[in-house]
């Protein structure tokens, strides 16, 4: 279920209550990280590729408006209709408009985190329009009325028994099915009907090429293509940062994407769309929804380089043990934690703190986003903007005072140690969060300084 305003720490605590399931979730995602490691170590020039990708994206952001204009021009010349949406609301209305104009009632959608971000499905539901998510993981969570917990592996939080039960309850299939092959076959049959009768297919965009006006959609299942090549209308939705300058830049990004995401050398299908097929309408919606705001922030604009591979999720020890739903955003994990505060600081003030700043995420990021440094920087911004608890601010000011005045520091240290020694229960109790599952450190006879004065001076 969607945790709208439950803070990460509380949601995570709840998640961990089922420890065996947490272990399973952690191991499953670590397994994906290991697959990634195996794949990237086969590419001796891997770090060079990352550097190129990073620099291409840095350049793109610095020339973004011109590339978008170039893209629009070329796309339109090829017969693609280009729309611009300032925010989620506008994105959704543009789609509704196209639906109404064309009298569409049957819609399929392949994976698009942007449409999740815009809550497109809910919007269409409110307007009594049926839309079916066709990526297997996304379809499963749709049936369960949940949101995806991972941007590449939407149903990673579910066990095969959960899937079997979901199908049984929603499709009337046999109870107790757990074989992934059987379950996938059920999905294939059911969704094939949807593809064949769909009037509109909505996809995301992995990369949009300024030079040619085309765009690329990468899938393993073939669901994007089954949708768009059968439906008479194709709407592709993209955040404006998906633009890359040149066609041949795809060589860099397509070498990095699947290896980072799942450890595959490439996804099964990398579809390059330039012109609609004869008789088909092709639309692309270029969306802002807060991105131009992020672009204005020198410390955080790098987060717009993201190619949505989720490598950072898989490596993050915190994500693996708390699950995507704990992040209460369409995009969870480390990258989600530096994107979300830009959208709403108050609601997302907890996310940059859901991290030990270990730095693993920045190392796996194929476009070298300095994720862990941005997490630290967001903490500064959020606290300066007053989104922390006032007790925290007071506590920190007190700490700073203690550490500024050596005599006070020594006194407080000595008192602390004395209390711990003589009145341990006053510290070692259930009010002390440290003490919940850990012993307090033992109290030494002397502090280092005291020893130094006795023995060295």
């Amino acid at each position: 279920m969607q945790n709208q305003f439950i803070e990460h720490a509380d949601a995570a605590e709840n998640f961990i209550k089922d420890e065996p399931r947490t272990d399973w979730h952690d191991e499953t995602l670590w397994f994906v990280r290991q697959k990634r490691d195996l794949a990237v170590n086969k590419i001796p020039e891997w770090e060079e590729l990352r550097e190129f990708a990073s620099k291409i994206k840095d350049h793109s952001l610095s020339n973004l408006d011109n590339y978008l204009l170039e893209f629009e021009r070329n796309a339109q010349n090829n017969g693609i209709q280009v729309h611009w949406a300032l925010d989620a609301k506008e994105h959704n209305s543009i789609i509704l408009d196209i639906i109404k104009k064309n009298n569409v009632s049957k819609i399929v959608k392949s994976k698009s985190m942007l449409t999740e971000e815009c809550h497109l499905n809910e919007f269409l539901q409110e307007n009594k329009i049926e839309i079916v998510d066709t990526d297997l993981g996304e379809w499963i969570v749709q049936l369960r009325k949940e949101t995806p917990s991972h941007i590449v592996l939407p149903a990673i939080h579910l066990k095969k028994e959960d899937v079997g039960e979901t199908f049984h309850q929603n499709l009337g299939t046999q109870k107790g099915l757990t074989d992934p092959k059987e379950l996938t076959e059920i999905a294939r049959d059911y969704l094939r009907e949807k593809f064949l009768s769909a009037e509109l297919a909505i996809t995301g965009v992995n990369f949009a090429i300024a030079e040619t006006g085309g765009f690329v959609v990468c899938t393993n299942e073939g669901n994007a293509d089954m949708g768009v090549h059968l439906a008479d209308i194709h709407i592709a939705c993209m955040g404006f940062e998906k633009i890359i300058p040149k066609l041949n830049h795809l060589s860099v990004f397509l070498r990095l994407l699947a290896r980072s995401a799942t450890g595959q050398p490439i996804t099964t299908y990398s579809s390059h769309f330039h012109k609609p097929r004869v008789g088909q309408q092709m639309h692309i919606i270029i969306v802002d929804n807060g991105r131009s705001n992020q672009l204005a922030r020198p410390d955080f604009r790098n987060s717009l380089k993201c190619i949505r591979c989720a490598a950072c999720f898989n490596t993050c020890p915190v994500y693996r043990r708390s699950g995507g739903h704990s992040y209460h955003n369409a995009v969870a994990g480390p990258i989600g934690s530096i994107l979300a505060p830009n959208i709403n600081m108050r609601e997302n003030a907890d996310l940059p703190f859901a991290s030990t700043l270990c730095g693993s995420c920045s190392n796996v990021c194929p476009v070298k986003i300095d994720i862990h440094q941005q997490l630290w920087k967001w903490r500064q911004v959020l606290m300066e903007e007053g989104h922390g608890k006032s007790s925290k601010k007071i506590g920190m000011q007190l700490l700073n005072l203690i550490f500024t005045k050596p005599k006070i520091y020594r006194l407080v240290g000595w008192i602390g140690r004395m209390i711990m020694k003589k009145l341990p229960f006053s510290i070692s109790n259930s009010l002390n969060p440290w003490y919940k599952q850990r012993e307090m450190p033992e109290v030494p006879k002397n502090s280092f300084r005291e020893w130094y004065l006795k023995n060295k001076k």
């Binding site: 592996l153 294939r188 593809f195 073939g222 090549h229 066609l247 490439i266 099964t268 672009l295």
Partner: protein, 203 residues
């Protein structure tokens, strides 16, 4: 100001100062047999490769493997298996029950076992996805090493002078998913199997 203008204005105002575009240069040291590498990778991702001398061999191989299949569609003239009459006039959804599709690929990429398929080589874009089983035929001399070479090739062919291909796709193996507990299942929504026939170099 409409949304387009608002967005472009905001980007214009907020973007960082211009940073140079790097020239992508990847040095290559590996001296490998491209056909072997291609086969190795494609097999590893669930596909099959069969090296043949000529189209005749392909024809007999297909008949052996798929002879009993109900609806076979052949889009490669050199393979003497009859294609359906007026297939190109059919609507995409009418390809629904195609068991086997035989199509041409422009080139293969050794580093990831993928084959580039061009819109203009197939009667319908949906064909390679909607069929139950897929066969793609390529020439051995058209196997390139990596994606950098692949796009160089594309820039001189499908995308020459930016006369864009209208639709093209890298196909790497049969469709698959691991969405259920990371258990790999071959055959999701696209083809359940893929065979790439590689016609050997004459020399």
């Amino acid at each position: 100001m409409n949304s387009r203008e608002k967005i472009l204005n905001a980007i214009g105002q907020n973007k960082p100062s211009l940073v140079a575009l790097p020239e992508v240069k990847i040095a290559y040291a590996e001296n490998i047999n491209l056909t072997s590498r291609f086969s190795e990778i494609l097999t590893g991702i669930g596909g099959n490769t069969i090296i043949v001398k000529n189209y005749l061999e392909i024809k007999s191989n297909i008949q052996e493997k798929f002879g009993t299949y109900h609806r076979i569609v052949n889009q490669v003239d050199e393979v003497e298996i009859k294609n359906e009459d007026s297939l190109e006039l059919k609507k995409p959804y009418q390809l629904e029950d195609i068991d086997l599709a035989i199509i041409k690929g422009r080139f293969g990429v050794a580093e990831n076992g993928s084959v580039w398929v061009e819109d203009s080589d197939i009667s319908h874009r949906v064909l390679p996805f909607i069929c139950q089983h897929l066969i793609i035929i390529i020439n051995e001399e058209n196997i390139v090493s990596n994606m950098h070479d692949a796009y160089r090739f594309l820039e001189t062919t499908s995308f020459k002078n930016l006369q864009n291909s209208s639709f093209g796709v890298f196909i790497a193996g049969p469709s698959k998913t691991a969405d259920i507990e990371q258990s790999l299942v071959i055959g999701a929504h696209g083809a359940r199997s893929l065979i790439v026939y590689i016609i050997k170099n004459k020399f």
